[in-house]
Symmetry: D2
Subunit: 361 residues, 4 copies
């Protein structure tokens, strides 16, 4: 129950925001998989802050692979990906004044005052960079197996993007954009909205919607390792995600069974469902339809408005005025992180079923 995840493809994550480096050890990938360094860098770039809608801390996020890759292919042994921290400005942080809705106070209790508080330490969103690098490899492997993943920004306050329609095309649209909405105008509106919120020293939340196309039926486990269990476990690893729903999700509460059930039918010799209210998962097992889920991302807790907090040294009420560099919204950057952990989670389930040899076939 620690900073390690995965049964077949294991990630061990490390690093602090203002330490010398962050990184991840990816264990369990078979030998013989071509590593596309450009795609890894592309995905890291998709996670990077850009423009006025993101933090002004700009890291180059140049990654280095120090092991597990030989002559451009995985050699079957653990892959270590590391990213140097270069632009730390630790002076901006006051350890005695926990930032509301950040990990500061909870970490202070858990780590008994020994936590690295600088820039949120281990809890910093920067730690998602190595996850994205590892995820890029997973996304690439899945693509070779005909499985594609796309996430768009479904909602930011009152502004809503359209839903997935043509899955293959829409996934391609998601993956072609930094600020990924399916509808172009919606994206422009959302970005303008975020800018105006940033100007007001505030931040804003949103909803992401993810689609996975091409997953074979019959993957996952009943009960304790249902596809929903495993995906949600990975997705709630991303700081700021506070909700997940599969298929109709909370909408099921408004439904009768006769409306919600996905009737089967034959389609060109293949069993499909007429609707996909269950988001491609029945009884915790994939049914061959697209996997669909939405995740709720809370507003960045770091805002420039003055806030109430406590002084942990004096144990008395205090005021907090944040300085530093912060994101007025993170869902557009969390999007590629969601794709990454989704790919890693599904890869783990697929290896259980097909064996590690299968990945490299």
């Amino acid at each position: 129950m620690k900073s390690v995840i995965g049964k077949n493809i294991t990630l061990a994550l490390y690093g602090e925001s203002h330490g010398s480096a962050i990184g991840v050890v990816v264990d369990g990938l078979p030998a013989g998989i071509k590593i596309d360094a450009d795609f890894i860098q592309h995905q890291l770039d998709m996670r990077k802050p850009k423009g006025k809608i993101s933090t002004q801390r700009k890291e180059t996020d140049d990654f280095v692979i120090t092991s597990g890759v030989f002559n451009g292919y995985t050699c079957g042994t653990p892959i270590h990906i590391t990213i140097e921290n270069k632009t730390q400005r630790s002076g901006d942080y006051q350890p005695n004044l926990p930032r509301p809705s950040h990990a500061d106070y909870a970490a202070h209790v858990k780590y008994n005052g020994f936590e690295d508080y600088r820039g949120g330490g281990h809890f910093s969103g920067r730690l998602t960079a190595p996850i994205v690098a590892a995820g890029a490899i997973a996304i690439d492997i899945l693509k070779n197996k005909g499985i594609t993943i796309g996430t768009h920004i479904k909602k930011c306050q009152h502004i809503e993007d359209r839903s997935f329609e043509n899955f293959a095309e829409d996934i391609a649209i998601c993956n072609s954009k930094y600020f990924a909405t399916l509808d172009e105008n919606t994206g422009t509106q959302m970005q303008q909205h975020i800018e105006s919120i940033a100007a007001d020293c505030d931040s804003v939340g949103g909803v992401l919607e993810t689609c996975v196309l091409g997953m074979p039926a019959g993957v996952g486990e009943p009960y304790f390792n249902s596809v929903e269990s495993v995906l949600s476990h990975y997705l709630f690893s991303i700081g700021g995600i506070k909700g997940i729903e599969f298929g109709c999700g909370f909408g099921f509460a408004d439904c009768l069974g006769s409306m919600a059930n996905d009737a089967f039918e034959m389609d060109d010799g293949k069993v499909v469902t007429k609707t996909n209210h269950n988001g491609g998962i029945n009884g915790g097992i994939t049914n061959g339809m697209p996997i669909l889920f939405r995740t709720a991302v809370k507003p960045t807790p770091s805002i420039f408005k003055q806030q109430d907090t406590v002084d942990l040294d004096k144990m008395e009420n205090a005021k907090l005025q944040l300085k530093g560099r912060h994101d007025p919204a993170i869902f557009h950057r969390a999007r590629v992180v969601a794709d990454s952990v989704t790919a890693l989670a599904l890869l783990d389930l697929l290896v259980q079923h097909f064996g590690e040899r299968w990945l490299a076939e």
Copy 2:
């Protein structure tokens, strides 16, 4: 990635709906914990179908503990709890016609036609009975540590229950009722609504809301084993749950940071938050406030209306007319299952922090 869960307190679940017995092996509880057999039976009774709002299959659910308990106390070795199946009526099932939105088809692919299809086999809701028995022990242990859990039915279509107000009292209300709503009238309305839906051969979904009071701050892990990750992993083990949100959850998408942040303040020498939009969890770690989450339960897929399906032998479209005994709603029975897995998940996290010895202190 199988039918085993837990790092410190491990559950190994087994059984099929129409096999001879179902059960669970609970490993990791320390010696010296008093086992309250009456409370286990009470919790099992809370899960049992009752009245017109539930299936007419009535099992007594008499449990037997065959190991791990000696002279009324845990002896530190694995506890095996088993429940006999007595009222199987396997004639009701047609293996070639998968029931829409059930596990039938996905299981058929996964298990290559060897699945025990009778009554849903391993996927049957009956398998939650041993989970409830194990959970009863966990709930009891937590209670001794001052941690209490309650779940009520927040919503069934248009009918909504009030939210938690006075946590201690409201948790007591939840635990005192079979059909658990905080508002008495709302409960009556919901039950009448379910009955009318049952009369119409249909089923209905709902939303559960759970509160955990008394969790110490500082429990959980960053990233891969955040409290949200671990709780959601356990909760999505329950068939029919398709969504979970912590604190404001999907409501965060409508929020600005200035509205969503939970400011800290001193309360009688203790650090608390003025609001609890984050549901007691910051950065994946408990902050000492009540843990709050909601889960979406889909309508029971088994309905008595005729449905479209496919014939897996002939690989052609077919019609399905279900017979047998089915629940028009399951959220009122799932409620105690939600409490059970919540207790088991939190116990596992607490043992990581405090050690297994602590449980028996």
Copy 3:
């Protein structure tokens, strides 16, 4: 770190010597494997005490499978195997006088006095019966993949059996006997020796030697999950085993590299080694040669000679005179347990490599 083992094929063991039942949940076997109940019973019979060289407690060890098997084939869900305890005679045990070299005292400290002390409780050799039942299924699966396992009694004090020569034939000899020696006369001598030791109220230890034929090269992991790591982990699960050596084992300490190295050569288009000092494992990975290891089994601690112990109630020195039914030697019964855990360990490693689907192919 509990009574659960296995990553892909998981065992959860439960039971006490004088409880109502002992059993195991086997999780992770794919659907479609034919279950040979007669072979399971045959293996259980191989573990049963027989004649004067074993305890006089005679249990029928009739096993019941309550889940996971449907129409004679695995259905892909957890298999629960249970065995009733029938001939308990708990009056024979004095909880305050720990038996030397038994688990009694260590368990007393670990479980804080709450342990089930009757007949050794959970630590009783009886618990190996469910392991043998589970192992029988594993042995059967491996046999279908061309992998066979045999263990003989290599040594009992001064009496030594010959080593493996013709592997296939010798494995067949091992599996055809209750008291398994490769040389018939040696077996007779050993049994007479044990009888005379039993007549003298004493017990005796021995060495087992195991061979696995047919393992493909390339299975296992470097470092933390080397084949030696995984096999030894399983084998030291068997009470009374206190040593293991692979290939030349401790004999390597007398060797120069030039004597110990296994030179490669081509044999009918296949890479083999001229010698097999490494017991089929190089760098933790199988090399395609037979896996060979020896395990040391200590003398049964239960002897009928008077022994020194302490009185845990009075905390003073005391004398212990055992009554009850005990084995003067256990290695002949441990033999089938060694085969069982070897099969389960190798199956787990093979599934990692080839995937669970492969097992049922």
Copy 4:
């Protein structure tokens, strides 16, 4: 079943002999533990090749901690320790000619020809350096809890060291020497013997003996996670170890129960055993006596005598003449690795029992 180990204290190892860096992520240590960088370097120096009895590849093994330590104390988050490779000479290796008794051929099959063959790649003994660095932290923590570990070279061919007598003093002797024998003359003889074997282009094996003093009684688990199971799992992670025996080990095969049993007696109000044939472990659980075990280390497979092998490209017999830098013996360097994994294994078991908070108390 991969390059990750530990349930509570997890190690994720990475690196290849001729890659840019090797390292380990240590997860699960609580916050507030003082890190003694000098002791880590001291332990790494104990593992380094020195003099004529070791390889001439001399790495400085300067380690860097890039995360998890803040102001000299653990901050509770994963610790990443990395060591740069500086003196690679990859030209020395011929990938088509597998070295007898090395991992080369097994790895070639496992990794399908994609393995990094340079200097043994991931299988190189260099990978034990990060394990030693992690182990140094574990040894330090145990020392603060009154638990000390020492390993000496018990045997090298015909030359034998004396056994442990005064445990505390002898452990101190072990830890004060690079070539650790309890008897000074024996050590000199062994080193001369190794030098003469090296001069003859050969290598030699040996036996290590380890003692752990101060482990509390009651730690470990019955069956699948016995102390023997867990320790052997870790120890067989060290390349070249091919046997382990606890207490009398294989000597038990020559014993009667009346000779082998460890009688209990009271000693100054404490329960002890008069003898310690079981090496401090009964039924898989510590009994409070010193833990004692011996491990067999095979001769280094790399020798400068010509050897028979096969050509994997041409699939025909071939001759191999090794060049490069190799150790004529490794047991003297493996000694500190044995201490390291022993400390890590015991720490994991202790945390299970006492909780992670206890470590930092």
